[in-house]
Symmetry: C2
Subunit: 247 residues, 2 copies
DNA sequence: TGAATGTCGATTGTTAACAATCTGGCACTC
DNA sequence: GAGTGCCAGATTGTTAACAATCGACATTCA
């Protein structure tokens, strides 16, 4: 009895509520600026205000919610800068994580098999038809991949930033429907192959390409309210300028 | 009546409690494995359990406290790996932040002056005599310096990781008394000079040197309970191998 | 008219009591 | 003697009521 038993899910009420709120934001049911009123949510979930309060507090360090003392919580209003900054963080940390993953990972390990399996899921047609499921599967793969580094703190930060990026992009009005699934899956395959080959340089190169493509896809779909030229944006350049090693 | 009035501190009770707990951990009054019992703390602070609960919850994402459902909170027990990983994060993110800081920062700006002023504080003899004050001043300078990047999310992560590193080092039994103040201040001066000169390469180089020196100083003072050879430690190598561009 | 002030409803902050769960010890069984 | 079941105390999880605060509107007074 040593295999196959995962720990029981220790999810408290407030964790469940936090999950629901996160999902609602990611699905677009809660939009930037919407107020989160403890009493309302408590009634809706048929619980008391305590757990609701805790759930809201959880979302603050995640950047999804802004709290103002005595004035309650509202769904955050991320800006273009926020999105690009999150990608800059991912670019930076992911480079280290994948480098390490390529070094330490053995292809036969269950973790690697897990990552490969999640990529397989992404190829599934029925998943590709549901943007929400597709997004979840995408996040799950990236999380598994970056966890191969066996750097738990860094992986946690990367998982967090992946969710942040997805949420922020959604809050800025860009939906996952716009993504080119084939290209996304291809990039993921390149990443996994690099790890499989145990090549740190290939892995980081593939990662840079992935981030660059993701940011470019986002900037194409995002219609800036100030209609500034994104190619001139300093943060966009920060990300893009760093995505390729100088030759 | 427009000058000299800063906004009133909007610190809630739970924030105050969280600060006190954080300080207690950093000062060594709370050690790894110590239980944080809501009732006890509530009595000690002469408040009810609610705010205490919230304070404890705040410390969880910071990595200072571990929560197990229905079994309460205990002060975290970071390992050598945790410390080194935090420094790997700092190395990675700080490189980007300082690069950006060197690019965007004008020496005359109040932010730059603020950073310079904090470095000045560090030189103060009376501060150098109190390890706790010295640590605070050190953190304040690094925070100010990295904030020059005008990348708020990245700066927040860096500030967080700086506090994490300090706490973890303390929890592993290494105190700030062991640090070489003169060398520390010198490294900070080099960093500030690089920003002043507006040189991204000088700034990132100085940052790498700083992290390397910090990690080396820590590993010297830390007597590993497993007395493994730290120079053989994979994570230490991850940090140290990345601290200098290959020639 | 319009700026300053008072009041009210909505909402959060805090408290204290109650319910659920875990830990450790002890008796009991086999 | 190893394992199981059960109980009591300690501690967390949840609830509902009370207090404090904020924003908006009404009111006052120049």
């Amino acid at each position: 009895m040593t295999t196959g038993y995962t720990p029981l899910p220790e999810t408290s009420t407030s964790d469940l509520v936090a999950d629901r709120l996160r999902d609602a934001i990611l699905a677009g049911d809660l939009k930037s600026g919407d107020r989160l009123i403890e009493t309302d949510l408590a009634e809706r979930f048929e619980i008391s205000r305590g757990p609701v309060r805790e759930a809201i507090r959880q979302l603050v360090p995640e950047g999804l919610v802004v709290l103002r003392r005595n004035r309650g919580a509202v769904v955050a209003s991320p800006t273009l800068d926020d999105v690009l900054e999150v990608y800059a963080v991912r670019l930076s940390l992911g480079t280290v994580a994948l480098q390490q993953a390529a070094r330490v990972q053995t292809v036969a390990s269950p973790q690697f098999q897990g990552a490969a399996k999640r990529l397989e899921l992404l190829r599934n047609r029925s998943i590709q038809e549901d943007a929400q499921l597709m997004l979840e599967a995408d996040l799950a793969f990236q999380d598994a991949l970056l966890s191969l580094s066996q750097l738990p703190r860094m992986s946690a930060l990367l998982a967090q930033s992946a969710r942040d990026a997805a949420s922020f992009v959604r809050m800025l009005g860009v939906t996952y429907d716009n993504t080119d699934h084939a290209a996304l899956i291809q990039r993921h395959e390149v990443l996994l192959d690099a790890i499989r080959a145990g090549s740190p340089t290939a892995a980081t190169g593939a990662w840079h390409q992935h981030i660059r493509a993701t940011v470019e896809e986002f900037t194409r779909c995002y219609d800036d309210p100030d209609h500034t030229d994104i190619s001139q944006h300093p943060l966009a350049n920060l990300v893009l300028a760093n995505t390729l090693e100088k030759p």
